[in-house]
């Protein structure tokens, strides 16, 4: 049954090819596969809506993220304050928007930074092997044997709490997994025949690895960057919830949630913590959908 259907599909394709109608389709195959994946599209739309809303925070919200209104403390959602106010009268809705800017920046920035270091090292060391590879591999092994949150907390204690420090620490603790991923890609690519051809031409290893090999590993790298972004956003939230992340003066998604440690707020003022928690969950889910969609689209064994 299935084979018949496949044969019929092939026949149709051959017919189209004979009529010269197939060549008109020049759009990228990967893009087409993503566009056909409903979850990935939902994820992308959700991601863009949240991202744009946060970027346009001053246009959407009339309150500043740290504007204090002592007459309206812990007031429930109303027309004046869409999502109510927190314990010192700051507007939750605008704090979520402004906080999103920093949280997304930390997540995306850390993932890109970690990818920059990890992928460059992995690309070169994965192709050259030898002492450099062995050394970096050992370093990454040591770093990955620490539970992430414990390593991050130690580094926070050493360098102190600030937005930029957190970003640096995330990059510092995030590159080993990127390195391993890029390295394993390189290890399989370097066995391909075109690499031998390039070597026979006497092309330098730097050019071979970065110009000719990296392009073939771009798919998994992008998947990894999206999924790491989600992970870093969750980590920022957890650390800030513990009071170890971005300093509390700055609104971030995690810092808004921090007050939920107070049992009275937890019990009586759901609008302070529940909406921002849902926003984090939605955003992370959107990124995961995009990542999963990219993974399927970049996989040549799946028909699109």
């Amino acid at each position: 049954m299935a084979r018949d259907a496949l044969n019929r599909k092939m026949d149709r394709l051959l017919l189209l090819e004979e009529q010269g109608r197939l060549s008109g389709n020049t759009t990228n195959r990967t893009l087409r596969k993503i566009a056909a994946n409903p979850l990935a599209i939902i994820g992308l739309v959700l991601f863009l809506i949240l991202l744009l809303a946060c970027m346009a925070a001053p246009l959407i919200s009339t309150y500043g993220p740290n504007a204090i209104d002592l007459r309206n403390r812990l007031s429930p959602p109303s027309r004046a304050h869409l999502l109510g106010t927190d314990q010192i009268g700051r507007d939750i809705f605008s704090r979520i928007l402004y906080g999103g800017r920093i949280s997304i920046f930390v997540g995306l920035g850390s993932a890109l930074g970690a990818a920059l270091i990890g992928v460059s090292l992995g690309t070169y060391a994965g192709y050259r092997r030898g002492a450099l590879d062995a050394l970096v591999m050992k370093v990454s092994e040591i770093m990955m044997s620490f539970p992430q949150i414990i390593l991050v907390s130690i580094l926070v204690t050493i360098v102190g709490q600030s937005l930029w420090n957190l970003l640096l620490i995330f990059i510092l603790t995030g590159w080993p997994s990127m390195y391993r991923m890029a390295r394993s890609q390189m290890l399989s690519i370097r066995e391909m025949e075109y690499i031998q051809a390039l070597q026979a031409f006497g092309i330098g290893s730097f050019t071979i690895s970065f110009k000719h090999m990296l392009v073939n590993a771009v798919g998994p790298i992008f998947v990894n960057i999206t999924l790491s972004t989600a992970m870093f956003i969750l980590q920022e939230a957890a650390l800030s919830f513990l009071g170890l992340g971005v300093p509390l003066e700055q609104a971030t998604w995690g810092n808004i949630l921090n007050v939920a440690q107070d049992l009275n707020i937890l019990r009586g003022a759901w609008w302070v913590w529940l909406p921002v928690g849902l926003v984090i969950t939605l955003f992370v889910m959107a990124i995961n959908f995009i990542g999963d969609g990219l993974r399927d689209a970049a996989d040549p064994t799946q028909v699109g």
């Binding site: 040591i142 044997s145 620490f146 539970p147 130690i154 939230a237 957890a238 529940l274 969950t281 995961n288």
Partner: protein, 319 residues
């Protein structure tokens, strides 16, 4: 087998030396030394520099870096993990007080997530494309995306405040200290801690199970006329479980990390809570010792994963 295990544990020693050195280096880099913390601030104003130097040399703080590292390491091996900078209590006894609570919580979460993750994953794979598979897949996506502590907060509001089924936080109610009486304290935190790992194990187990059900030997087993449950649960599951066991081993650091956050949410008196307050107050010896032991646990777990893989998959040779 035995020689493999011994060799693995011997290889652990150089790695632990490097890590202990890094941890000592970290302690050195942290602001302030032991003397600054030992002397109350008002006494520090009246004390002279000469007296401070004397105190430092008595404590061995003026010795070269490597000598200090050596002394610290020897103490470590002898079971002297240093002292809390705030209370002066030995870190070893602080750990002895908090470790059982954390182990209890983590083990409960590990058992829950392994059990539910694999069962739900198998169900999802066997009913692929049906309603139950779709529902489980969506739940898995949410489980991976929701911050663990948020899930914990929601659980507290629903089951403690609204329904009143469980007590608020803590590990035991005074007077009711037997295990069964403590169970109601344990249920919520362990379920919350298990959530994201359950979701991960489930997703992984589903695809691994689907993979193994497509293999040739499953066709052979079916054509021999074995009952479906035997084909699925004995022949299919055994092969599917190998990558799942590896995943569970690799997720162990996440479990330890997760317990740091969850203990805070549920006021669970474990190592994680001690760790967070130590980080906040820059109580270096505690921070570093917790880090050291969590690394030790992770490394030992990875050896156990190797062994488990070999037991599950006869093709894997330990070498």
């Amino acid at each position: 087998m035995i020689s493999f295990i011994i060799r693995k544990f011997l290889l652990l020693i150089p790695l632990l030396l490097v890590i202990s050195f890094l941890i000592f280096l970290g302690m050195e880099l942290m602001p302030g030394d032991a003397v600054d913390f030992m002397i109350p601030p008002d006494a520090l104003a009246t004390i002279s520099q000469a007296e401070l130097d004397l105190l430092r040399s008595e404590l061995g703080l003026d010795a070269p870096f490597l000598v200090r590292y050596g002394t610290w390491l020897v103490n470590l091996v002898q079971g002297d993990f240093g002292y809390s900078l705030q209370s002066g209590v030995a870190v070893s006894s602080l750990l002895a007080n908090t470790l059982p609570a954390t182990l209890e919580l983590s083990l409960a979460a590990l058992v829950l997530s392994t059990l539910f993750g694999s069962i739900l994953g198998v169900v999802s794979a066997l009913y692929k494309g049906r309603l139950s598979d779709n529902v489980l897949t969506v739940m898995g996506m949410i489980g991976v995306a929701i911050p663990q502590f948020l899930f914990g907060l929601i659980m507290i509001v629903v089951f403690v405040f609204k329904l009143g089924w469980f007590p608020v936080g803590g590990r035991l109610t005074v007077g009711n200290e037997a295990f069964l009486q403590r169970l109601d304290h344990l249920i919520l935190p362990s379920v919350v801690l298990a959530l994201s790992m359950t979701a991960g194990v489930m997703r992984y187990c589903r695809s691994s199970m689907l993979d193994s059900l497509n293999k040739e030997f499953i066709k052979t087993a079916r054509s021999k006329g074995l009952p479906p449950w035997r084909v699925n649960l004995v022949h299919g599951l055994r092969v599917a479980m190998t990558p799942v066991a590896v995943l569970i081993g690799f997720r162990l650091p996440m479990l330890i990390g997760g317990s740091v956050v969850i203990e805070q949410v549920f006021q669970w008196p474990g190592v994680g809570q001690m760790f967070v307050s130590a980080v906040r107050s820059q109580n270096t010896p505690i921070v570093m010792m917790v880090a050291f032991f969590s690394v030790l646990i992770v490394l030992i777990a990875s050896i156990l994963v190797d062994i488990a893989t070999a037991l599950l998959d006869p093709r894997v040779k330990l070498s």
